[in-house]
């Protein structure tokens, strides 16, 4: 490890001088510039988390509008066009702009701390990932402010509905562009995490000592880099069809709409696991902490995570049972889908094994984690029902499916991510959300969620199709829909209470000491919030649950740390990467270019002149802007500077508490 570091550029060499082409070395530690130029993984995690929570509110409002429209039959609260925008953007937002970035926020913030690293492997690439994510999010939502409206072909965007013939406005162009950019952001971030986990583990942190959350980060990252290329190809094909008249999906010219479904779902199903594996990782951290005993069957939990990731690439066509694939393909995908239930079930058994015989302290994170176990179990069981393909032909495209995946995505992913927020909140901000308000929020969310989504099982089996803006009052669906809408209101209040409680805690909440939960993993060995450099000395890991081991072998660890601190100090201090503005500028270029591309209309005769002319110019300008930024970024080099610490951990010659979110 040390040798590898010495050979790489990661450890700056003192004799190197800054290159002449570096235009600007930002050094601000506070204020807007510090956020635009930050390369600190904790700050970037914070940015991801903030955006995700903002979009959680937006996606939630979209969901409420949907539920209001469906509260009573033949409602006219929304028009069908508005309703189609709502459900398209609700799904796209919740998947790509809430659950994924919230996962990314934890990957960024927690994972490097869990493996004893001082940052991710490529700090500037990490910043770039965030800015591109933000750009994608902006372009996806641009339609709300335009005459063309927001995307309205569903988050799955089945061809040929997305072709220019059936969706002539720019809404789909924005959707295509936005998703492609989100893919770029996700892939760049995933590569970064993989390299970080493989290379930057602290000495002694062997793979089989990795915290399960870090394992799940690794698997999720592999799923991202393997699955996103599929949707990127599909989106590029749609874009080519729409902008340049190719015939991938143009039926009249022999295009094959079924191709879209295969490409989309070979991304789309692993995507489901991209959403749930981080959640499983969070749960696997919280349960042992609050049960005060190690995870039951660690190797099997890790291996089942890997199996889920692997099998997840072999089940995509269970989203397509109704497309007439024929008996053999249907049978194969049905069997694979049942097979994937086994590793998922194994995790459930191990979680129960973890709390079995423990001392469960029912704090707010633990409540959400236990809620996750119940809800995810129900979602998993209705998933097995879908695997029975002939029965699924009745459930497919109905509200039964809506119920199923909300049990997995809210009851699963969102419950776990909220559990994670409450769990790591003290580490992020040094304050703790009040038990009372946390539990109020939990019960509101838990009850509201079940009241909303449990009746949907019956609505689906009663024949109510998804994605319908209205229904007739004589179909037997009135009661279920009304109950569901009431539940949605309770759920919204619960989420609102939770967010307000967190916001309040951020400013005025109860301060906590270090390691308030008596946790087990390395991130809790740090003061909260952690310093910019993370670890005073790179820790040496002696066991799985490294921090638990440290706490129980204090003398041994203290001696080791003192020796290493001296060695590091005598050497050159702590290496820190320079901040950089170029990831942000490259993102800005992509934003300009992306807006240009997604509003160009090749059918417009005035494309080269008049009003449309500048838009091509804008696209080219944006592209150039990005190119120049990336060139400067690479010329800038990946150097850093060194800091030396005082005895108490503060940086010599600096305000020790300046920087990310610290309020002392």
């Amino acid at each position: 490890m040390e040798q590898a570091l010495a050979k790489s550029d990661f450890l700056a060499k003192e004799e190197r001088v800054a290159k002449p082409l570096v235009l600007w070395r930002p050094t601000a530690k506070t204020g807007l510039v510090s956020w635009l130029t930050t390369v600190d993984h904790k700050r970037i995690g914070f940015l991801y988390g903030g955006c995700a929570l903002f979009f959680l509110v937006m996606g939630g409002i979209e969901a409420l509008l949907i539920r209001i429209q469906l509260a009573v039959p033949n409602n006219t609260f929304l028009t069908s066009a508005q309703y189609n925008e709502m459900f398209t953007m609700h799904a796209t937002t919740m998947i790509f702009l809430v659950v994924m970035p919230l996962g990314a926020a934890f990957f960024n913030f927690v994972m490097p701390l869990q493996i004893g690293a001082r940052d991710v492997a490529f700090p500037r690439l990490n910043a770039f990932s965030f800015w591109v994510f933000l750009v994608g999010a902006i372009i996806l939502n641009l339609g709300w402010f335009m005459k063309d409206g927001a995307p309205d072909a569903g988050w799955f965007g089945y061809a040929p509905l997305t072709t220019r013939q059936f969706s002539p406005t720019h809404a789909i162009d924005m959707w295509v562009m936005g998703l492609q950019l989100l893919g770029v952001a996700s892939i760049a971030a995933a590569l970064n995490f993989i390299v970080t986990i493989i290379n930057l583990r602290a000495p002694g942190m062997t793979m089989m000592r990795l915290p399960v959350f870090t394992w799940m980060t690794l698997f999720t990252s592999f799923l991202i880099i393997l699955s996103f290329p599929a949707i990127t190809i599909a989106l590029v094909e749609v874009m080519m069809d729409r902008l340049f008249g190719t015939n991938f999906f143009e039926v009249s010219n022999g295009g094959m709409p079924i191709l879209w479904q295969h490409l989309f779902w070979i991304f789309g199903h692993p995507e489901v696991y991209i959403l749930i594996l981080p959640a499983m990782g969070v749960i696997s951290e919280i349960l042992p902490t609050f049960a005060r005993k190690p995870l039951f069957g660690y190797p099997i939990v890790v291996f089942s995570g890997a199996s889920i990731g692997f099998l997840g690439f072999g089940v995509w066509s269970h989203h397509m049972f109704a497309t007439g694939m024929g008996t053999m393909a249907t049978a194969a995908f049905a069997m694979m889908t049942m097979a994937i239930a086994v590793p998922t079930g194994v995790k459930m058994f191990n979680w129960i094994g973890t709390i079995w015989g423990g001392h469960l302290s029912m704090r707010v994170p633990m409540m959400f984690a236990l809620g996750f176990l119940w809800m995810f179990m129900i979602g998993g069981l209705s998933g097995i029902m879908h695997a029975a393909a002939p029965a699924d032909l009745q459930q497919h495209g109905s509200y039964f499916v809506v119920a199923h995946f909300h049990y997995v995505l809210i009851g699963g992913s969102l419950f776990a991510l909220l559990a994670g927020l409450h769990y790591w909140f003290p580490l992020l901000f040094g304050r703790r959300v009040s038990e009372f308000w946390g539990k109020v929020a939990f019960w509101l969310i838990f009850i509201g969620f079940n009241v909303t989504f449990f009746p949907m099982h019956f609505l689906g089996l009663e024949g109510m199709p998804r994605r319908t803006f209205t229904y007739d009052g004589n179909m037997g669906w009135n009661l279920g829909n009304m109950v569901s809408t009431i539940g949605a209101m309770i759920l919204a209040i619960g989420i609102g209470v939770d967010l307000v409680a967190m916001l309040y805690t951020y400013y005025k909440g109860e301060r906590t000491h270090k390691d308030p939960w008596d946790a087990r993993t390395l991130e809790w060995s740090l003061p909260n919030p952690p310093m910019e450099y993370n670890f005073q000395q790179i820790p040496h890991i002696h066991a799985r649950d490294g921090w638990w081991y440290e706490k129980h072998h204090k003398e041994e660890i203290a001696k080791e740390n003192a020796e290493r601190a001296k060695a590091e100090h005598d050497d050159h201090g702590i290496h820190m990467p320079f901040q950089s503005i170029y990831p942000f500028l490259a993102g800005l270029g992509i934003l300009i270019g992306g807006i240009g591309v997604s509003v160009i209309d090749p059918a417009d005769p005035k494309i080269y002149t008049g009003f449309w002319g500048p838009k091509i110019a804008v696209t080219i300008l944006g592209g150039l802007f990005m190119f120049v930024s990336v060139v400067l970024w690479s010329l800038e080099g990946c150097e850093g500077y060194h800091i030396h610490l005082n005895e108490d951990g503060s940086i010599k010659g600096e305000d020790p508490h300046a920087g990310y979110g610290a309020k002392h």
Binding site: N74, T79, S80, N84, G154, Y158, P160, L161, F166, G254, M256, P257, A291, K293, P294, F296, G297, Y298, G324, A331, A334, M335, M338, A339, A341, V342, G345, V346, F349, I352, G353, W356, G357, H359, L360, M362, M377, I378, S382, I384, A388, P390, A391, L393, Q394, Q395, H396, G397, S398, F458, E462, G463, M464, P465, R467, T468, F469, N474, M475, G476
Partner: protein, 420 residues
């Protein structure tokens, strides 16, 4: 004595409980027997699918009780109940038990095998008919349009009148209401002319998609004559939610009588010489946007009887032949014929539903509105308020600049209603 008293009391309790359960069950039925309920199958395909669903339900329920029971037990048993519990020495730092793990994995695999075997059997069953029965299957073709369904009967031949007045053969085509023989397998070819639709008659069979460039099909069989609700189940654009249809299953003799009636060219009401439309003030109900288009007429015990009534010719007193003739002329003049066909009258259009016998259908506007004069008037008066973005409005009324006066509408309603 005491014992018998107790047993009496127990029996009374049991009876009360049974009665309560019965009421609950009945209410359950109210909840589960909607027109599109999958719990109330009316044919072998839907029944097999429901049975498989019940099997998955039972297996899931057993798993839920076992796993949930263990989880609930652990949650309550090992909960830290007091401050002292919270600060007690940590429990034994145990790392797992391979035997338990392997046993549970084995049990899960077993549970899945119980589901897997009937699943495989049913995949073959619901996909297509057994070879031996294929010859007996009745064949129809269903085609999805944004936002209605066309039904063709390739085995049947209909008649139309060519420009010289001669009776010639034509294809038998209807729209939005599929009439099939009961007690006989029906092979439905699924096609689409635009985007992906999905053909779903919950009481007869699970859905199969209508995919462009793909020859999908579905087979159904209705046990007995009946009237069934169906709906598009794949998002297909702005009015996906209101893309509905009906399936009417008839006993074979009634079915062939229906085929014969439908095969005839459009009904023509003779106009006495020199008659002109009666001067009457036609008043139609006015509707707001997305107002329900149904009455309780088809919610009764036998919607099929209501369908049969719809086939009957109207009382001649209720018809104004001159007004109908005016409507017929308007149908051409207002360019309706560009998209609609009325065999024997006018029009060769194929973009919209064939209307030769539209008066005999129970619904219009893609199964959305009940077929009566008020709803017909509502539909041709402001189609966009009924079915947003529909092609009759977007590529008909707007492109051809169709303007209908109240008199025009009145005549068209009279004409279309007369097409039994």
């Amino acid at each position: 004595m005491r014992v018998s008293n107790l047993s009496n009391r127990l029996a009374r309790c049991a009876r009360a409980a049974a009665a309560l359960a019965g009421v609950a069950l009945l209410q359950g039925c109210v909840w589960f027997d909607g027109p599109q309920s999958t719990f109330d199958p009316a044919g072998p395909v839907a029944r097999e699918q429901l049975n498989l669903f019940y099997l998955t339900c039972w297996v899931s329920l057993v798993i839920f009780v076992l796993v949930g029971g263990a989880l609930a037990y652990a949650m309550f048993k090992f909960r830290a109940k007091t401050e002292a519990d919270t600060h007690a020495e940590p429990p034994e730092q145990a790392h797992g038990n391979p035997l338990v793990e392997v046993g549970l994995i084995g049990a899960s695999v077993l549970a899945l095998v119980i589901i897997a075997i009937p699943t495989l059997k049913d995949i073959w069953f619901s996909y297509d008919l057994p070879e031996a029965e294929k010859a007996n299957a009745y064949e129809v073709t269903a085609t999805g349009y944004q936002w209605w369904f066309k039904f063709e009967y390739p085995k049947e031949t209909a008649q139309t009148i060519d420009p010289t007045g001669k009776l010639v053969n034509a294809a038998l085509t209807t729209g939005n209401e599929l009439v099939i023989p009961a007690g006989r397998p029906v092979h439905i070819n699924l096609r689409t002319v635009d985007v992906i639709h999905s053909f779903w008659i919950p009481k007869l069979a699970g859905k199969v998609d209508m995919m462009p460039n793909r020859a999908n099909f579905l087979w159904v069989e209705a046990d007995k004559p009946g009237y069934f609700w169906g709906q598009c189940a794949e998002f297909c654009g702005e009015s996906h939610a209101v893309m509905r249809f009906r399936v009417i299953a008839l006993k074979p003799s009634e079915f062939y009588a229906w085929v014969a009636a439908q095969s005839a060219p459009a009904r023509r009401v003779p106009v006495p010489d020199g008659a002109s439309p009666k001067a009457e003030f036609a008043s139609y109900k006015s509707f707001h946007v997305n107002e329900p288009g149904y009455t309780d007429r088809y919610d009764g015990l036998s919607p099929l009887d209501e369908w049969r009534k719809q086939q009957l010719l109207p009382n001649p007193v209720d018809e104004d032949p001159a007004l109908i003739a005016k409507g017929r002329a308007l149908f051409t003049a207002k360019t309706c014929i560009q998209c609609h066909t009325i065999r024997g009258d006018a029009g060769l259009g194929v973009a919209g539903p064939e209307l030769t016998h539209v008066g005999s259908r129970t619904t219009i506007a893609g199964g959305l509105l009940e077929n009566n004069r008020d709803e017909l008037h509502r539909w041709i008066h402001a189609p966009n308020e009924v079915k947003p973005g529909n092609k009759m409005w977007v590529t008909g009324y707007l492109v051809n600049n169709i303007k209908l006066t109240p008199d025009d509408e009145n005549a068209l309603v009279a004409y279309l209603s007369s097409l039994k």
